[in-house]
């Protein structure tokens, strides 16, 4: 028994050579690395699922804490996760965090942009609706005020102001779109496209609505005159210019599934708008020339109009050359006055902006009018008569001189 106790004591003495007890909670290396792995895994998962920069900032602080807390156990962790390392795993986590932060920043910027866009669209839509109501009311009032010319003129002025406001408002909207989308890269387009489904009214749909409303405006604008339609054509030209610059990008961004057909839809609407404006414009132009005593050949396009103008001036020039009558000169004066004071002075810029006439076309007609001016001015006979009188006087004087010379007696010579 004694031997047995001695042996046991000996074993304990050998095996528990440095045994010690401690009230302080002891750590297990295994547990340390397990805890590290668990926390690393949890943070990795949180980084993967985080969607806000705020959330990711909190995670970043926790990554710092994790690194600080386990730095003293680097060796244990390196052994446990070999061939990975403590530094390597944290670097990967930080890289993932940075990438997630970049993504979240982009998403937040995008969300902000979409919110702004939504707000802009709301403001735009509300203002357009207000103007539609005003315009509809003005149209009704115009129809009712046919008997009262003064009131009709006032209403028409207001109606035109409304159209100008609309044009200005739409132009600002298009400028805004142009500045946003003209230089937008493909990546940003795709990012917006992914978020665009949240928009009730996206810019592409808004453009379609605007064009449809312009078509209605052109079709229903019975009280308007040539300058109004020329202004509409100018607005159409401006719209087309902007659309050509950003149309494809807008279609790719807001109709990413069928950008080609979306762009074609707007192209078709723009063509229909031009047709509606032109139907009114050519009639109004023809009436305006006709009311000023200028009967042009029929025209139904800008080219035809230019041809009709040139044809009128060429014919009038030929007639003036042949007849050189006061009546022809009066036709010239009438045309020249209307051309210079109304067509060029009042409509000139709009005709150019609306692609009805170019500066070259106008200059060419100006040159022809100058020739026509010379040809149509009646030539005076006064100089011819004066010449005849002068010749007659000279002849008379010569005859008188000869006669006197013959009647005089010869002189006698005294020797």
């Amino acid at each position: 028994m004694k031997t047995l106790l001695k042996q046991r004591f000996s074993l304990l003495a050998v095996f528990l050579l440095f045994a010690s007890t401690s009230v302080v909670a002891q750590q297990s290396d295994y547990q340390i690395q397990q805890d590290f792995r668990a926390e690393l895994s949890e943070l990795t998962e949180r980084v993967e699922t985080a969607v806000t920069t705020e959330e990711l900032s909190e995670i970043e602080a926790e990554i710092d804490r994790l690194e600080g807390q386990y730095a003293e156990h680097t060796q244990i962790i390196n052994s446990a996760i070999y061939p990975d390392t403590f530094d390597g795993s944290l670097t990967r986590l930080r890289n993932a965090h940075t990438a997630a932060m970049d993504d979240a920043t982009i998403i937040e910027e995008l969300n902000e942009r979409i919110d702004d866009l939504t707000a802009e669209m709301d403001v735009f839509r509300n203002r357009m609706e207000e103007m539609n109501v005003e315009m509809s009311s003005l149209q009704d009032q115009l129809e009712r005020a046919e008997a009262n010319e003064t009131r009709q003129a006032a209403l028409l002025r207001q109606y035109r102001q409304n159209i100008d406001q609309r044009n200005e408002f739409v132009s600002e909207f298009l400028e805004e779109l142009l500045s946003k989308y003209q230089t937008m890269d493909r990546t940003t387009q795709q990012e917006i496209a992914e978020a665009a489904e949240r928009l009730d009214d996206n810019p592409l749909e808004m453009i379609q609505t605007i064009v449809i409303e312009y078509i209605d405006l052109a079709d229903q604008a019975t009280a308007l005159e040539t300058p109004d339609f020329v202004a509409m054509r100018a607005q159409h030209g401006y719209f087309v210019d902007i659309w050509e610059r950003i149309g494809e990008r807008l279609a790719n961004t807001f109709e990413p599934e069928s950008p080609v057909s979306a762009k074609e839809e707007v192209d078709d609407l723009l063509t229909a708008w031009l047709l509606s404006v032109d139907n009114q414009l050519w009639n109004a132009l023809d009436s305006a020339f006709s009311q000023n005593g200028i009967e042009l050949e029929p025209f139904a396009s800008a080219e035809d109009f230019n041809t009709a103008l040139n044809s009128f001036v060429d014919n009038a020039y030929e007639i003036s050359l042949e007849r050189n009558s006061e009546e022809d000169h009066e036709i010239y004066r009438n045309f020249s006055s209307f051309w210079n004071n109304t067509v060029k002075a009042s409509w000139g810029d709009l005709l150019v902006e609306g692609n009805v006439l170019s500066h070259t076309d106008i200059a060419a007609i100006d040159l022809k009018i100058a020739d026509w001016s010379d040809a149509s001015a009646p030539t005076s006979n006064l100089m011819f008569i004066l010449l005849l009188i002068s010749i007659a006087i000279i002849i008379g004087l010569v005859i008188l001189l000869i006669t006197k010379t013959r009647k005089a007696p010869p002189k006698k010579i005294d020797k």
Partner: protein, 146 residues
């Protein structure tokens, strides 16, 4: 006759020594077998544990029998610098020190833990010894295979 027998015997002894001298004699010293982190292994239905990282697989049936328990949720295993395996588990009263041999683990030492059985044991690899920590009580034991 005796002389001839003596010569024959001497030749045989010389041949034997010669043959022994030609056999393998390469020995590598100071091998470090230490496993940096203990392995925590869950036995399967046949009481087999498999440490894939350190490549060892064995049955713990005889250890359970020795401890007088039918099963454990997990065992803790660590190998010291000299190559001895230290095995214990929650509820054990001993740490078993095994020496590796050809297809077997031979018990080298059985270290009895004073007091109650181990609550939450864990091995830590230290420079010259294996540290046994009972996280339930906070007690530590510095173990050696000798």
């Amino acid at each position: 006759m005796l002389k001839q027998a003596t010569i024959t015997l001497s030749l045989c002894v010389a041949l034997l020594f010669g043959a022994a001298a030609c056999g393998p004699s390469l020995v590598i010293q100071n091998v470090d077998y230490s496993q940096p982190i203990e392995s925590v292994l869950t036995p399967d239905g046949d009481a087999m544990v498999h440490d894939q990282r350190f490549a060892i697989k064995f049955s713990i049936s005889s250890i359970l029998e020795e401890e007088g328990v039918s099963s454990v949720d997990e065992i803790r295993l660590i190998r010291n610098r000299a190559g001895y395996y230290f095995v214990t588990a929650e509820g054990f009263s001993n740490v078993y020190v095994f020496e590796a041999d050809e297809s077997e683990l031979k018990l080298a030492k059985k270290i009895e833990i004073s007091g109650d059985s181990l609550g939450q044991p864990a091995f830590n690899q230290r420079d010259t010894y294996i540290e046994l920590v009972d996280r339930a009580t906070g007690q530590t034991y510095n173990l050696d295979h000798n």
